[in-house]
Symmetry: C2
Subunit: 339 residues, 2 copies
């Protein structure tokens, strides 16, 4: 059995309170005593009992991060950022992978609340079904009532709850991107959107349509993927017949899939068809041709969220933390071939 505070106290010939004070460094302890305690600590291989501490102090050393898919860089970048900030605050960040399932999302949030985590970060777009939003809203309200810091990173707050939101400018970025595509001369554009009923999909699609409307360009053919590379590949296969000069994808992963599909069919990018993405993942510059896309400060936003969830930073005033998007013009979008 592991050594307890009492064991250490006995060995050092002091009270448990003194050992606790040495451990936490929150009250004065004489150098001599501290020395003795440290020795006892070492001799017994003492390891703090987290649950006991959490129970007594009514606060834990864990924060939770909800992501859709750890294997998608969009999420893993955010997870890393949050985890980094948590570790700086000496907290453990728990990464929970919902695999895109709304019920898993609820389940993980409950598990985190049960563990009385200090904070929770919800990353990525949220499902927009009212029932799901209500369920989330209820859990979040409970969490807040219990003193848990809840932060949204890349999704709106569910209706009726007021929590800090790190908001990426999906709509504005998407609008700027499509405007760029149009400016290059494209008129027949297809859009590979994310999954329907997802807040990120909705925002990006809205920005795309705004740009079309502003520039007086006819509506795009819109097909839905699920933000995965494979779904972009399939979408492109469906679109190949449709006589477009540009394909704008809802994220970089799908754009990479689109490029792979076009290449497989012998269609050149950008000579025959231009392709654009969104997110500016590391792979965007790696691919040939380098991807024209929109940069989102994912790492920065996730770290901000991590600091808030860790309690290092407190949000006062408006709870919407705006993160600008930046158009990254590279090689995958070019002037369409004359014909």
């Amino acid at each position: 059995m592991a050594a307890t505070l009492a064991d250490v106290a006995a060995r050092a010939g002091v009270s448990t309170a003194t050992v606790s004070r040495v451990l936490n460094g929150n009250y004065p302890v004489s150098a001599l005593t501290r020395e003795r305690v440290h020795r006892a600590l070492g001799e017994l291989d003492y390891v703090v009992n987290g649950p006991a501490r959490a129970l007594a102090a009514a606060t834990s050393e864990v924060i939770g991060v909800i992501v859709n898919d750890v294997s998608d860089p969009f999420f893993s970048i955010q997870a890393s950022g949050t985890q980094w900030e948590a570790a700086s605050a000496d907290l453990l960040a728990v990464i929970c992978n919902t695999a895109g399932s709304p019920s898993d999302e609820l389940k993980y949030i409950s598990m985190l609340l049960r563990q009385r985590v200090r904070g929770v970060v919800l990353t990525g777009g949220s499902r927009e079904e009212p029932e799901h939003l209500q369920a989330i809203a209820k859990l979040i309200s409970q969490a807040i009532a219990a003193g848990t810091a809840v932060v949204m990173c890349g999704r709106p707050a569910p209706p009726g709850v007021d929590v800090p939101c790190v908001a990426f400018d999906n709509e504005g970025g998407s609008r700027a991107l499509t405007k760029h595509v149009i400016t290059m001369g494209h008129r027949r554009i297809a859009y590979v959107a994310g999954p329907p009923g997802n807040s990120t999909t909705t925002a990006r699609l809205a920005g795309h349509r705004q740009a079309l409307a502003e520039q007086g360009v006819p509506d795009s053919v819109v097909v839905h993927g699920d933000f995965s590379r494979a779904s972009g590949f399939n979408a492109a296969m469906d679109l190949i017949e449709s006589d477009v000069t540009a394909i704008v994808a809802g994220n970089d992963l799908m754009a990479l899939g689109v490029i792979a599909a076009l290449r497989q069919r012998g269609i050149r990018v950008p000579e025959d068809i231009s392709v654009a993405g969104f997110d500016d993942l590391p792979a965007a510059v790696d691919v040939v041709p380098a991807l024209t896309t929109v940069r989102l400060p994912l790492d920065k936003g996730a770290r901000r969220a991590g600091r808030i969830a860790s309690g290092v930073e407190t949000v006062t005033g408006p709870t919407r933390l705006w993160m600008p998007a930046e158009l990254m013009v590279r090689e995958s979008v070019a002037v369409p071939a004359a014909r």
Copy 2:
């Protein structure tokens, strides 16, 4: 403040012990009482206090997973597999990202032990420095002594400790792969290894060399990467001068980087240079040409590890759980051009 067991008990007009029994279903409770308790539970939005339960029951509902890099599919696949099994057992899986830093690895393991997690899975190759292995060995011994299930997934047990190991056949797979390359007619082969001092690197390199020796082929030029795509890209740039007909990479990610580099230089794969990888990640079939590689049952192994860490499965007898590797012959390795 959140409702406690006592609140629920008071409302239901029973004792806390009875509520606890209803919650855990481990002792008989009359249907009527159970009904009353359930109603009170619902009315108060009761959420179990994990730390208190962990303290009283001396066992938590959390398992930890140590990975190098969540954004690398090799790890994220394993993380997902373990997490899936944990969730099936109604446990929370904590994913800890060490970013390849040995000190972070130790730090996270300590944090997990402090939380008194039920089990820990260490994935991926381990650093081979004796001091680090000793530090790990010490922590693991403490963990085991405290009743925590520790499982290695894809790395050997540190010297002196006997823990279950899910062992992927890196050496055999690598040997078979290189043998295949040689059989196709290659004699001048370069090897892009993983980072030095990593157990996976060592095993795969050993298998590669065995095959060379067996087939009487001269030693390869070996350059080291860090298992990332970018490092494969750079390695290929260095190797381009060196007159080889095949480049074998220590993992798929680096192989993808190699292919990208060759393509950028206008070198055709496999016509000019053949390329092989290792792991058979999903992207291996996505790339052009499809990657000849070695399949490792990462998901299966990680799930096995997850079950053991969760306590669902107990290992008796030999603690080495062997996972075979399978050669996947695709298009990226071809007969070298005559010259």
